[in-house]
């Protein structure tokens, strides 16, 4: 199975390594034509403002929406969860989300870097707790109909799925634990 990882900026290399370890063929996507033939796209963590500007300059808004419309699954981690949302609660004036998933997301919801944290998460689809690494993390404030909440931390939504869309506000790619990557390959790709 071929999976692309948006490689404009951020932790894309870790996602590629984790997807390969989970059995997929993964490659870096820096230009829209590199989306051809991928079954799924990961939008990694990074700085959402920087990634959004590069996405606009290189025509990724149209390309990702079009590919998603014809069956490409998308998983956004952290900045990726912000960009794939329907609404960014505290968006900068020119910061447009892709609107792929019925979520409302707030950026830097926990404060500054000194407030970044780790915590165990109960994810219903996994047998054992998953170590969540939250770095200047956003929060999924609200979800629309059809969005399934997969995990909460102290009541706040930190993972959600809507058909072939997955969003996590934490970073499975930094843990070495392949379970969320496997879940994306097995239960999100093809779920549209």
């Amino acid at each position: 199975m071929r999976v692309g990882v948006l490689a404009l900026q951020g932790a894309f290399r870790e996602h590629i390594l984790m997807l390969e370890a989970a059995g997929a063929t993964a490659h870096a996507v820096r230009l829209p034509e590199q989306l051809d033939g991928v079954a799924g796209l990961v939008i990694p963590g990074g700085e959402s403002t920087a990634i959004a500007k590069l996405m606009r300059t290189y025509g990724f808004y149209e390309a990702i929406r079009e590919c998603h419309g014809s069956g490409m699954a998308v998983w956004g981690t952290c900045a990726g969860a912000i960009l794939s949302a329907q609404t960014i609660a505290d968006a900068l004036p020119d910061q447009e989300p892709l609107g792929l998933m019925a979520t409302t997301v707030r950026r830097n919801a926990y404060g500054r870097q000194v407030d970044s944290f780790e915590a165990d998460l109960a994810i219903g689809q996994l047998d054992l707790p998953f170590r969540g690494v939250f770095i200047r993390a956003p929060l999924i404030e609200a979800v629309g109909e059809g969005v399934k909440v997969l995990a909460r931390h102290r009541g706040d939504i930190v993972a959600a799925q809507e058909c072939d869309m997955l969003a996590t506000t934490f970073h499975p790619e930094l843990t070495g634990d392949l379970r969320v990557h496997r879940y994306f390959l097995e239960h999100v790709i093809g779920a549209g």
Partner: protein, 297 residues
């Protein structure tokens, strides 16, 4: 299951550096410059009182920026804000942590406050980035708790030659350590004056244990792409942007060249009509005592 949140872990500290990879961190001295940097696509800004070129010109003792400047910059942008403290000046570091900066750069650009000891960075919740010219220096800083490394280059020169020298040295030494036999590692650690456990980690993994950016002399999109092709994880641009003729345009061009560092067509396109670059300085024209890279040990 433990729902308790733990802050300040090594993974959380190194994790922010992971998120900055492939990006450009820009020196800024005002909130207005910080906005220009953010609008151009910077992944973080470095809050300073003066950029290195002006520190070099002004001479005297260079210190942490005024907290008012740092706070104004923190308030102006939503991307992470870094700020510099003097080498060994742990109280400047405490102040910067209390101001809410996201990363502290214990930096040779400022005048060192301690000529023997660096800050014990394990004492802090906020992560640190430190400069290094070679693997031994990098591993000593990581041993002290640094969560990110940047090769030093020679700040404030607009001359990329030292940045290239330090990045090549670092990567050649990493490859050498990865290739030696295991029983040699004790002597390697002694020779590098670096903690054995970290030398062993480099040997086993064939890479530095933390993210490594390039800094010190990057002034053009091609400079940034050069450092990326040599193998760094991202770039710091200090004086190169706001000492040039058209900072906003140059900043955006350097961002694009850093992302598309292997695509010469894109680098050519973004390099056009950027206006005057900063004036460069030849390293041989700088007296030894004024070379910032020699600071730190």
């Amino acid at each position: 299951m433990n729902e308790t949140s733990t802050t300040g872990t090594l993974r959380v500290k190194t994790g922010l550096a992971e998120m900055l990879k492939g990006g450009v961190i820009m020196d800024v001295v005002t909130a207005e410059q910080a906005k220009i940097a953010e609008d151009a696509g910077a992944v973080a800004v470095m809050a300073l009182e003066r950029v290195p070129a002006d520190i070099r010109a002004a001479g005297g003792v260079a210190r942490m920026a005024d907290p008012t400047i740092v706070e104004q910059i923190v308030g102006a942008v939503s991307i992470p804000v870094m700020a510099k403290c003097r080498i060994g000046h742990f109280v400047e570091a405490q102040v910067l942590q209390s101001l809410g900066v996201d990363y502290i750069d214990e930096s040779e650009v400022l005048t060192p406050a301690d000529e023997e000891h660096h800050v014990n960075k394990w004492d802090f919740t906020v992560p640190f980035v430190c400069g290094a010219r070679n693997l031994g220096e990098a591993l000593r800083r990581i041993g002290e708790g640094a969560a990110m490394i940047r090769t030093k280059g020679e700040p404030g020169t607009g001359n990329v030659v030292e940045a290239v020298r330090h990045m090549r040295t670092m990567l050649e030494e990493v490859a050498w350590v990865a290739g030696v036999r295991e029983e040699q590692l004790f002597t390697v650690a002694k020779d590098l004056q670096a903690p054995y456990d970290l030398v062993k980690w480099v040997h086993d993994n064939g890479t530095l244990p933390v993210v490594n950016f390039s800094a010190g002399g990057i002034a053009t999109p091609a400079d940034a792409a050069l450092m990326m092709q040599l193998g760094c994880d991202g770039v710091f641009v200090g004086s190169g942007i706001f000492k040039s003729g058209d900072p906003a345009k140059r900043a955006k061009a350097i961002v694009e060249a850093t992302t598309h560092f292997e695509d010469a067509d894109i680098i050519a396109r973004v390099s056009r009509d950027l206006g005057e670059p900063m004036v460069g300085i030849n390293i041989s024209d700088i007296p030894d005592a004024e070379r910032m890279q020699e600071r730190g040990w």
